[in-house]
């Protein structure tokens, strides 16, 4: 056969057509794709039997129950909410859901470390054994026993047996200088002390409130126990329309809490308290207050009324806050006319501190409408009946230490009220006044990054002989440490989680090891017990337990002894539903049974402690709620009449307005952690690219303000305050009040891992904390700033 041109073309065309009609090319393309994609370096997770176990999240004080999914009980692969835990009922926040990125994160510390060179040089931070590390510390502590008061401790946690053990160690050793990281709770506890006579933390019965007015609280952005608050929010929004709870947000910035509220009242920066007093004035002058409560259970109402009439008429408050007069009157009538209504205090996530008077102004609103210790109002968090440990054994040194003045000057002659004054501590360490700080212990806190107005603290570190960090992660403070004693993460250890902030019923939760520790870490409780034993004497005698577990069990026995409450073992528990004072039949029969069930389910709760009656609730000199504080007089605070009453005093912000024409205000969000740990990668993923882009973080500026300064979206600017300068980019948004620059906190880490290091700037570097002259407490919500294009 002769192959002519025509036949050749036909053959080729037929061949091509035939091939294309056949599945061959498609199959081959597909196979090539599969083959070229399945490279061996693509991780292939190991399979195995899956189990779930309950524990409690410790990443914030919220105390949510979580379930951990384990493969062959070796690998943790997922964390979700425990539906049986009453605090979160199966919900989980982004941080909790990301917990495994901490457990397996690259910034974990694997062994004890000792700084052999210059502080902060990571090259010379050498791994040592636990025996060596404890020996080094014991020798130092023995050597400075005569200067025992120079041992200072900062705990990242406020409540729980671990912080208690640290406080106990200092007490036995002879130092009065136990501290926790500063927060709005400091101002709140002082405010409670002067108005109610005791500092037991507040519990809000929010699920039963019909009207909530929040004075700057980021109620869905991490205030209180975050999951509980978001659950309460969902609950408010689920109620049928007629019965719907209303939420009003008073805030300067158009935050998410402001947007999600039924009403947002935008106030001039730092004037929330003035608005609260304005509301109080209307309620009082129109006679809308709770006459029974005010008449029988309050002290100093006439003085308070006089002050309101003189200084806080709607006209005057409108001038201070920028809120219209009619609005103030309307809000007051609504607040007094809705039952039950409650007012929330504590700005942002509750880390940002206003003054004691800011708290008192808001709390006096609650008092006026009789919402104290009432369903749907605010009461005190019930006590968890844990058994006390035996008394600390004191020797001559620790007896002296007990009576030493605290280094921060709190409970001293100048500032007798507060339990601690963190910014004063920093100042006094810098000045070596009244005595030098010999050694600083930092327990799971990161003051070198998280402390507002952090630069003086960084300077103060140079004055401190030895810095010991008990962190699990290579955070900024740990990088500067001389000795690092790493603990296991919360997923690898036993620890209690006490009542979450703001909860109205009693909860005691237990985290337990889900896996054996990944590294040569040691439980901080065990470390303290071992250290005490090696010191011996009264310190050793104060720690009579073999390990932390024994110490913890000794306390938990108290729960079984009182025979109250239940282990939360079924989904859908809503302890707030039936109110307080409800006796639950215990679902355990002995301590062993209770411990076993606690270990399995993770939570004990109790509703039997009723809200205190108005007759019994106040332990002030008058046995009443004091608008006019006799307690302050009693402790010797002197000044004009005004200081004994809730009032509003504008804070004098740092910086000359001529040099620094704008105001810089920090803000907190759910997706940037502000605690001792930095953002894990999968939360950073959820940041918008107008919050963080590459390594640049953004500040929020109102478009009008920006236009005046010739700034456009994304422009790079320098933020300059008296403390220093940071370089950021500008995001224009109408959420920002004109003439105010809003900066997020929690970014700008220089520690941790490459997933967060160097991203954005740390606002704390340029914020300036201001001290209140009556209480000594610092506030840092605003600093004057200059903004210039770079």
């Amino acid at each position: 056969m002769k192959l002519d041109r025509r036949a050749f073309v036909k053959l080729i065309a037929g061949g091509v057509g035939g091939t294309l009609l056949s599945p061959l090319p498609w199959k081959m393309a597909d196979d090539t794709a599969i083959w070229s994609q399945n490279w061996f370096w693509r991780p292939s997770p190991e399979r195995g039997g899956a189990t779930t176990a309950n524990t409690v999240c410790q990443l914030c004080p919220g105390g949510c129950g979580v379930r951990v999914r384990l493969i062959e009980e070796k690998r943790a692969v997922n964390i979700d909410g425990n539906p049986s835990h009453p605090v979160n009922q199966g919900g989980i926040c982004p941080l909790g859901a990301a917990g495994l990125q901490y457990l397996y994160g690259p910034s974990r510390i694997e062994t004890p470390l000792q700084q052999t060179g210059k502080r902060g040089d990571l090259e010379t931070l050498k791994a040592i054994s636990w025996d060596e590390a404890l020996e080094i510390l014991a020798i130092k502590l023995r050597g400075m026993r005569q200067k025992a008061r120079g041992l200072v401790c900062v705990s990242g946690k406020r409540e729980g047996t671990l912080p208690e053990l640290f406080a106990r160690f200092l007490h036995a050793y002879g130092s009065p200088n136990y501290n926790v990281m500063p927060a709005a709770a400091d101002a709140e506890s002082v405010g409670l002390l002067v108005s109610q006579g005791n500092s037991s933390p507040l519990g809000y019965d929010l699920e039963n409130s019909k009207l909530v007015i929040s004075f700057g609280s980021g109620y869905i952005e991490g205030w209180g126990a975050p999951n509980r608050m978001m659950m309460a929010f969902g609950h408010w929004r689920s109620n049928p329309k007629r019965d719907r709870s209303k939420i009003i947000q008073v805030e300067t910035r158009g935050s998410l809490s402001a947007s999600k509220a039924d009403e947002w009242v935008a106030v001039a920066p730092g004037t929330e308290a003035a608005l609260a007093l304005g509301l109080a004035q209307v309620i009082v002058s129109e006679g809308r207050y709770d006459r029974t409560f005010v008449g029988q259970y309050t002290h100093g109402f006439d003085e308070f009324r006089g002050l309101l009439r003189r200084n806080y008429t709607p006209e005057e408050v409108a001038a201070i806050t920028g809120v219209e007069k009619e609005k103030i009157i309307g809000l007051a009538r609504e607040f007094a006319g809705t039952k039950p209504a409650v007012a929330l205090s504590g700005w942002g996530q509750g880390r940002m501190q206003g003054s004691m008077y800011d708290f008192l102004a808001v709390q006096s609103l609650n008092a006026l409408v009789g919402s104290l210790h009432k369903p749907g109002g605010v009461t005190r968090t019930p006590q968890v009946p844990l058994a006390p440990w035996p008394k600390v054994v004191l020797d001559a040194t620790s007896l002296t230490g007990e009576n030493e003045p605290r280094l921060d000057g709190s409970k001293g002659p100048q500032f007798p009220l507060p339990a601690q004054l963190f910014h004063n501590l920093v100042k006094n360490i810098n000045e070596g006044n009244p005595y030098p700080a010999e050694m600083l212990w930092v327990y799971e806190a990161n003051p070198a990054h998280d402390l507002a107005d952090v630069q003086p603290f960084l300077e103060a570190l140079n004055k401190i002989g030895t810095l010991v960090s008990f962190s699990s992660f290579m955070d900024e403070t740990t990088q500067l440490a001389d000795l690092v004693l790493p603990g296991p993460t919360y997923l690898e250890r036993l620890e209690d989680a006490p009542i979450p902030p703001g909860l109205q019923y009693a909860v005691f939760s237990l985290s337990q090891p889900m896996l054996s520790p990944r590294f040569e870490t040691r439980h901080p409780g065990d470390v303290l017990i071992q250290l005490a034993n090696s010191l011996g004497g009264n310190v050793g005698a104060s720690f009579p337990w073999s390990d932390y577990e024994t110490a913890l069990m000794e306390r938990v026995k108290g729960l079984a002894d009182v025979g109250r409450g239940q282990v939360a073992d079924e989904p859908g528990l809503q302890p707030w539903k039936d109110g307080q004072g409800l006796q639950l039949a215990p679902n355990y029969d002995s301590f062993d049974d209770l411990w076993e069930k606690l270990t399995e389910h993770g939570c004990w709760f109790d509703t039997s402690e009723a809200m205190p009656s108005w007759e019994s609730a106040f332990t002030t000199p008058s046995r009443k709620f004091e608008f006019y504080s006799q307690k302050m007089r009693e402790v010797g605070i002197k000044g004009n009449e005004l200081i004994y009453l809730p009032h509003f005093k504008p804070v004098e912000l740092a910086g000359d307005p001529r040099d620094y024409p704008l105001l810089l205000m920090p803000y907190e969000t759910m997706v940037i952690t502000n605690g001792p740990v930095a953002n894990p990668p999968c939360i950073t993923n959820t940041l918008f690219d107008f919050q963080l882009k590459g390594n640049d973080s953004f500040v929020e500026v109102n478009p009008k303000t920006a236009a005046k300064m010739g700034l456009k979206e994304g422009d790079r600017v320098a933020l300059q305050t008296e403390r220093g300068t940071l370089e950021v980019r500008v995001h224009l948004t109408e959420a920002a009040r004109p003439a105010v620059v809003f900066i997020p906190t929690g970014l700008g880490h220089s520690g941790f891992d490459s997933y967060i290091k160097g991203k954005g700037v740390n606002a704390n570097m340029i914020l300036v904390a201001q001290q209140d002259q009556v209480t000594g407490l610092a506030s840092w919500w605003g600093t004057r700033v200059k903004i210039s294009k770079v």
Partner: protein, 253 residues
């Protein structure tokens, strides 16, 4: 509901934007559940992978009338049924059948090993629900330990997207089968995002079951879907009493 043939199961979701607190727990829970990879720089949104992305909305009004809202967007598992091509836009264009809608559940799946990375589906999707692996996924060494065996990791050069945690459906079905059941109870199968939501803003279930919570909510007066005029028939419904949010949902400016 569209008239696709089905045996009475059409999984869908309702997201109540009034309840959503914008906490991002859904998005994070999704990443954990599905072994979604991350890189050192997660701020380049054209390159990062977020199966459940939360969008930022605002009403465009000046301070202090300004309001914002966050809108979680999983894959919407479009139920479009236009004659004669009853496919979601993405499956219609896939040249290698790597993505298709399971008509028994209504879920639109994506099979990474079949995907040839042409990204036609990405351009076809009206909701930016699909993501491309520009690089091989890499977890810092110890973090590989947290990968769940329920979902394979993907590879460089393929597309990925939300599956409504279809592996959870498999597991729930197997459990039901062990108990001698063929039908699942309501709530037996829910995706990780719905389970995580602390404000209980997300509801998941069978849209065809008129008594299910999800169907009841989807019928409500404030329910809407994104870009409804495209007739893609998404199976993810949103609820909002805010007019401006409902307007934005259909790009009506």
């Amino acid at each position: 509901m569209s008239g696709n043939k089905s045996n009475g199961v059409r999984y869908g979701m309702v997201i109540d934007l009034d309840k959503c607190t914008g906490c991002m727990a859904c998005s994070v829970a999704c990443q954990q559940e599905n072994n979604v990879s991350f890189r050192e720089d997660e701020t380049d949104k054209l390159r990062s992978i977020t199966w459940l992305e939360v969008f930022y909305l605002d009403n465009g009004k000046p301070y202090p009338e300004h309001r914002r809202a966050y809108m979680p967007r999983p894959c919407l598992h479009c139920d479009s049924s236009h004659h004669p091509y009853p496919y979601p836009p993405c499956t219609f264009v896939c040249p290698v059948n790597a993505t298709h809608r399971d008509e028994e559940t209504g879920l639109v799946n994506h099979i990474p090993v079949r995907c040839i990375g042409c990204r036609y589906c990405i351009s076809a999707c009206s909701y930016h629900a699909r993501y491309f692996n520009w690089w091989d996924p890499k977890w810092p060494e110890p973090m590989e330990k947290m990968l769940t065996p329920d979902v394979s990791t993907r590879m460089r050069g393929v597309v990925e997207k939300c599956t409504m945690c279809v592996h959870r459906l498999q597991l729930a079905k197997e459990r039901a089968f062990m108990e001698g059941r063929r039908e699942l109870h309501e709530g037996e199968y829910v995706p990780a995002c719905v389970e995580a939501c602390p404000a209980r803003a997300m509801t998941f279930g069978n849209l065809l079951d008129p008594h299910s919570e999800v169907a009841t909510l989807a019928r409500g007066p404030h329910a809407f879907r994104l870009l409804e005029r495209l007739a893609t028939e998404p199976k993810v419904y949103y609820l909002s009493t805010q007019k401006w949010i409902r307007k934005l949902a259909d790009n009506v400016m």
